[in-house]
Each structure stands twice: as structure tokens, then as C-alpha cells.
């Protein structure tokens, strides 16, 4: 199931600058957002945007820990013409999301958490794409563009 079929051609590519953080515990959540903030600062994002990016990573990584137990956060710079952006890919091979439409509504959760995760992340970032297949896993790709 696919939501917002944005053209993300580079999803499978491994860029040299890509940072990969394996996510299996709550400590990895902190490591991932740390890396994300560091790259955002390096790419000259404002402190405000760096915080939005770090917060989005925190939510995505937490979803991996809560729902899939194991996965990966990939962070890398990208560009559309002259305009740079930061790309965050949250990948897991967990159970997948049964109903993405439902998961994207505020207040929905199946793990007893607040359930603000995905719609919140969508608001924090500029682009949001989610691909999920039951029994195979979930990949969320988000981007923040330099203003």
C-alpha cells in the first residue's frame, strides 16, 4: 500500500554520504536523532529546522522500536537542482501497517502510545512517503528542503 506517491528515485541508492543507524533499542533512537541533527547542522539548516528534523527522526525510530523491534534509520543529503535537502528513511522488516489511512490519522495507535507519530512527522517535514506491506515491513521516507 502506498500513500502520496512522490517520485523518490534514489530510495534504493546508497550514497557515500549516507549515515545508517541500526535501530533495536531506545538508545538507538537517541543515536539516530543525534546523527540527523549533526548532518542538518552540517548542511546549514537553521537550528529550528535541525530540531524539527531531529524530532521527526525520534518519532520514526520510536515507531521501529515499538512496532517492528528492528530496523534502520538512513540519513543523507540530496539535491533537486540547486536546492539541497536532507532525506530520512526509516526502514523496518516488521509486521507492516494494516491500514495506512488509519495510521495517518491523529490519535490512532495500536501500541498504546499516543499515536501522534506519523501525522506529526508529516507536519514536521516537507515530503512524506510511506510504503508498507503486511508481513514484509514498512519504509517511511521524509525530506526537509533548505528554504
Amino acid at each position: 500500500m502506498r500513500l502520496e506517491n512522490a517520485a523518490i528515485a534514489a530510495v534504493g541508492d546508497v550514497s557515500v554520504d549516507e549515515i545508517r543507524v541500526s535501530i533495536t533499542s531506545d538508545q538507538d533512537i537517541i543515536a539516530a536523532r543525534h546523527q540527523g541533527r549533526a548532518l542538518a547542522v552540517k548542511l546549514d539548516f537553521s537550528p529550528g529546522d535541525a530540531t524539527l528534523i531531529a524530532t521527526a527522526i525520534s518519532e520514526l525510530a520510536r515507531n521501529i522500536v515499538s512496532y517492528a523491534r528492528h530496523g534502520e534509520i538512513r540519513i543523507r543529503p540530496a539535491q533537486n537542482g540547486e536546492r539541497p535537502c536532507i532525506v530520512i528513511i526509516a526502514w523496518d522488516d516488521g509486521p507492516g501497517i494494516q491500514d495506512i489511512g488509519q495510521a495517518m490519522r491523529d490519535g490512532f495507535s495500536t501500541s498504546g502510545s499516543l499515536g501522534l507519530g506519523l501525522p506529526g512527522v508529516r507536519r514536521l517535514m516537507d515530503d512524506f512517503e510511506i510504503v508498507s506491506e503486511q508481513g514484509k515491513g514498512t519504509t517511511v521516507t521524509v525530506r526537509k528542503w533548505k528554504p
Binding site: 529550528g48 524530532t55 520510536r62 499516543l114
Partner: protein, 121 residues
């Protein structure tokens, strides 16, 4: 990373000094409740000035802590939420509903003193 808790008269001051894991937060929740009971505290200040990310788990846990402390008859005030963190929280849809917030430690103390005076009179 443990959150140090200082006793200051009838108040407790807890200062978050680095990013907290979920486990750290839950441990802090237990520690602060016990300390409130042990010290018969009237108020708690939670200083989050050094916290660079407040995600859904952190804000929910902090709200729970404030609610538990209120059930003990004490007040909690969160101080030092950074402007960028506040912006991200609002975007994420997180509010600190029902939890007092103040600019900094000084304002937080003033708030608690005021609150306790009101209760006493």
C-alpha cells in the same frame, strides 16, 4: 543518564542534563515520585533547558509525572523549554495540557511560591 534531583526547602528541582532514553525517563518518573513522597515536597521544578528534542514519548511521560505529583498534593512546573523545541512540539501536535510551564528556574520558583501561598491562605 540519571536526572539529578535537588531538594530546595519544600521544593524539588530536577535538571535534565542530556538527552534521555525512554528507560532514563521511566527511571526518572519512579525516582521523582519517591522523592516527592520522602521529602513531603510541595512542588517540583523540572528544568528541561538542555533538552534538544521533546518527542511524543518524552512529553507524555512528563505529563504523567506532573499528574502523579498532583495526586500527591504537590505542583509541578516545567521550565526552560527551548523555542525550537516548543515549535517542534506544536508541529507534532504535542501540548503540555494541564502542566504549568515557566520561562526559567527563577520564574518556576516564583510560580510555585505563589501557588503554595494561595493554598495556605
Amino acid at each position: 543518564m540519571e536526572v539529578p534531583i535537588l531538594k530546595q526547602g519544600s521544593f524539588l528541582i530536577a535538571t535534565v542534563q542530556a538527552a534521555l532514553t525512554d528507560a532514563d525517563l521511566l527511571q526518572f518518573r519512579t525516582a521523582i515520585i519517591h522523592q516527592v513522597v520522602r521529602s513531603r515536597s510541595r512542588g517540583v521544578i523540572l528544568d528541561v533547558t538542555d533538552l534538544d528534542v521533546m518527542d511524543s514519548f518524552a512529553s507524555r511521560t512528563i505529563r504523567e509525572i506532573a499528574q502523579m505529583i498532583r495526586l500527591r498534593g504537590a505542583e509541578t512546573v516545567i521550565v526552560g523549554i527551548q523555542p525550537e523545541v516548543a515549535f517542534a512540539m506544536v508541529q507534532l501536535g504535542l501540548t503540555m495540557e494541564g502542566v504549568a510551564t515557566a520561562l526559567d528556574l527563577e520564574e518556576g520558583l516564583a510560580y510555585l511560591n505563589q501557588k503554595i501561598k494561595t493554598v495556605a491562605s
